[in-house]
């Protein structure tokens, strides 16, 4: 990995849409960081819809807000339809240029809001739906969600009663809707992050972006390691960076030589209790998912290198 390209750094550190500090995220929050980075890409011309999730706390309690752009809080499962409604309202006023963003956690996307997300995707409403995924209901006290990896600790899946299913494959679910654009990003890879958000901003129709968002208190690691863990997740194939066009063509950032899985597991205390068996199962889940995507990529689009350039 290189240091970010000059234009990425310039965009992400520009003052043009300064989100205000003083928000209420925990120390080292990957979600708050992703939101800040995304807002740098979006600029001022956007409207957010945020359901019940960490971000509803982070952006500030009444009467304050940290986003610096209009934002609507909504019930847990209602992100996508609310965003669709706002989009339609703007359309009725001829304001096509305003970007409407639904910004929800994994709980509101993988579980509670899934039907509503599916419906909006089915209608191909012109919204950008972003799921920041910290792999549990962190805001309410770390309850297991559909995004929780198999056997990882949460307050409702302790060691004595572990989660038996692997992490839900939200990317394939969304791809089955044949929406114009799906991407997965990690804040540890700013070049890739910016490029995909810029593309998603331009495309019309339902776009879905899946962010890997490490959570120090919920995933139980030292705050300073947020980016390190996100980077290890990418480098060890835990979180593949990909793009899917129209549900068909998949490009995958290839990781020919996966590294750092051991450290990824070791850094997070939610994996502390892992037996050799658990560890093997975890790795096997990752490999299964990776190889499905890898085969798909080879068939349809291809594999890319680190900066999105196609590998020969």
């Amino acid at each position: 990995m290189n240091e970010p390209q000059a234009q990425t750094t310039e965009l992400l550190t520009a003052d043009h849409c300064k989100t205000s500090g003083g928000h209420l995220a925990c120390q080292g929050c990957g979600g708050a960081l992703s939101l800040r980075m995304a807002l740098q890409v979006f600029g001022k011309e956007c409207v957010f819809v945020i359901p019940a999730c960490c971000m509803a706390v982070i952006d500030g309690p009444f009467p304050v807000s940290s986003l610096g752009v209009p934002l609507m809080h909504i019930a847990f499962g209602a992100t996508a339809p609310t965003a669709s409604g706002i989009r339609a309202g703007f359309a009725a006023q001829g304001k096509d240029e305003i970007l409407v963003v639904g910004w929800a956690g994994d709980g509101a996307t993988f579980d509670i809001g899934l039907g509503a997300v599916s419906a909006a995707a089915d209608r191909n409403d012109d919204i950008l739906y972003v799921c920041y995924d910290n792999e549990a209901y962190m805001n309410t006290g770390v309850q297991q969600s559909g995004a929780t990896p198999r056997a990882a600790w949460t307050s409702t899946s302790p060691r004595q009663a572990p989660k038996y299913a692997a992490k839900k494959d939200i990317i394939s679910i969304m791809a089955a809707h044949r929406i114009p654009y799906i991407a997965s990003v990690s804040p540890s890879h700013p070049d890739d992050f910016v490029r995909k958000f810029q593309l998603a901003k331009k495309i019309k129709g339902f776009r879905f972006i899946h962010i890997f968002s490490p959570c120090p208190p919920g995933q139980r690691f030292e705050e300073r390691n947020t980016i390190k863990i996100a980077r290890k997740a990418v480098e060890s194939r835990v979180f593949p960076l990909l793009e899917i066009y129209n549900g068909k063509k998949l490009t995958l950032q290839d990781i020919p030589d996966p590294q750092g899985l051991e450290e990824y597991i070791k850094l997070q205390r939610r994996f502390d209790h892992f037996s050799t068996e658990d560890r093997k199962q975890f790795e096997s889940d990752i490999n299964t998912h990776w190889h499905e995507l890898h085969d798909w990529a080879i068939q349809s689009g291809g594999l890319t290198g680190e900066n999105g350039k196609r590998n020969s």
């Binding site: 750094t9 205000s20 120390q27 929050c29 708050a32 500030g60 610096g68 359309a91 980016i227």
Partner: protein, 602 residues
Amino acid sequence: MRKHPEIFSDAALRHIKTGGTKPPGEMTASELPPMAVSWSSTEHLPVGEWKEKAPKYVRGLSPCLTHCPVGNDVEGFVSKVRDNDIETAVKLLLAENPLPATCGRVCYHPCEDGCNRKELDGAVGIRAIERYLGDHPEFKGSDIWQQAKPSSGKKIAVIGSGPSGLACAWGLALLGHKVEVYEQKEKAGGLLRYGIPAYRLPKDVLDREIGRITDVGVKFFYSWKIGEDRIIKDMLAAFDAVFVAAGAVKTRQLGIQGENNNNVWSALDFLNTVANGIIPDIGARCVIIGGGNSAVDAARSARRLGAESTILYRRTCNEMPAHQAEIDDAIAEGVIISELAVPLEFILEDGTLRGVNCLRTRLGEPDSSGRRKPLPVPGSDFAIECESVINALGEMVSSEDLTSNLQLIRAMKTADAWGKSMHPSLFAGGDFTGGERTVAHAIGGGKRAAMAIDRFLLGTKNESLERYRVGGGPASLASYLRSGDSEVTAGGIRTIQFDDLNPAYFPARERAYLEKHLLESRDFEFSEVEPGMNQAQAIEEAERCFSCGRCTKCGLCQIFCPEGAVRKNNKNDLMIFDSHCKGCGICVEECPRCAIEFREES
């Protein structure tokens, strides 16, 4: 307004248009239907109070800085080359070192031995970059002169124009003093001209470097001998201070029979003769006794004169004090190294040298130098036939020349690290006073003496010069010139190790490799062995530098701060906005070069 038939009925649209109210987009807060709306920002929330530790930008030292005996701002000039700012790079380099083209060729680069990059994929080729800058034709001594101090009216004599004398003269000139250099030989350079062979340091390169020193007003006087033209007492009376760097020019005796034969050379005499362009008659076979750099220089020079040369060394190649790269090159050029052998006596026939009788040794327990002691093996006598022998046992100060001059002997024996002797205005340095005998150490010593002399002539004598040492090691003339602490000479500064860095941002990148021009046939061939870099190669190599411990404004701390608390002030410096920083430490963890430190909140 555009119609959107799926969502709004015509009746609804008519209501929005004509219902007596404004369109929703133009409503003010009070006109909206009742709901909770946040109008103010979180900016005033004092979330910074959550933190237990606070990140601080702290300059650290890259190990190349503390490893350089000269005190070059290594990281400084390398990073300027990386930014393609060659002019500033040359100025940074010349402020510390008047002989970059020389050091760029012959220095044994301790900086590269210290370079953190060696833990990843090989040290940065610092010496080659220094050579590129030293060879750059566009910059003259007067360029750096413009940064220097105004004239002080003081006059200093420098005895000896080797690297130490030249460095002292340069430093004093930059500090605004008048300098006269007195040299025994016909040209300046000392060991650089008469000891180091031309295939390692071409003489025109040396001439250019000395030209730069005359550019800044230093005067040279040649063919001058200590104790002949002027005695030291007169000199001390005529000058405000005197710096002696007369070198170590006498080869140690072998102490065996036949040593005074005409065909037994001392290494320095031999190298001196070759440097003067005279081809000495050494016959077809030459034996060199010793294992240091002058032994290897002599052996490779003898090869170039067409002789078969054999180095006789009492330990093994692994213990040879000569630099490994030099030994490798010598072997590649066909020099034979006969390990574990000591000379017993020379074989003479009617006064003509025929060979050397030798004895094998074996290695015993380590001695005080840490190397294993060679022990003779009885009955292992053997003879090597040869027409000439070069004694390269090592050099020492020629005390015979000094016996009439007690002042000098006292100065030689009492000089401290800054060259100060018992006599207040007499200073000494370089090989003359001992210590490590390398070009870089000699330059470092000369520079320190220049600072000590300046302090003696003008300064407050109680103030210690130690504060101008970089990380407690080599002295920095540039910060002395500014007469103040610089970032790198500040006390308590830590040296950055590889483990402190974040290697995630440094992908592997091979070190530049330049094909050497080694001697292939037995031709008279003293052309330069090592090639130089062009600008593109130098920049590419400089890009491998981590800039350990120095913020390069890469912006990662700003990108990765979840709070947006890292900002640039109006001077474009990064700063941390304390009342928003929650102290997560991502910036500390992610900084590629360890320029941010986590400190407990006081």
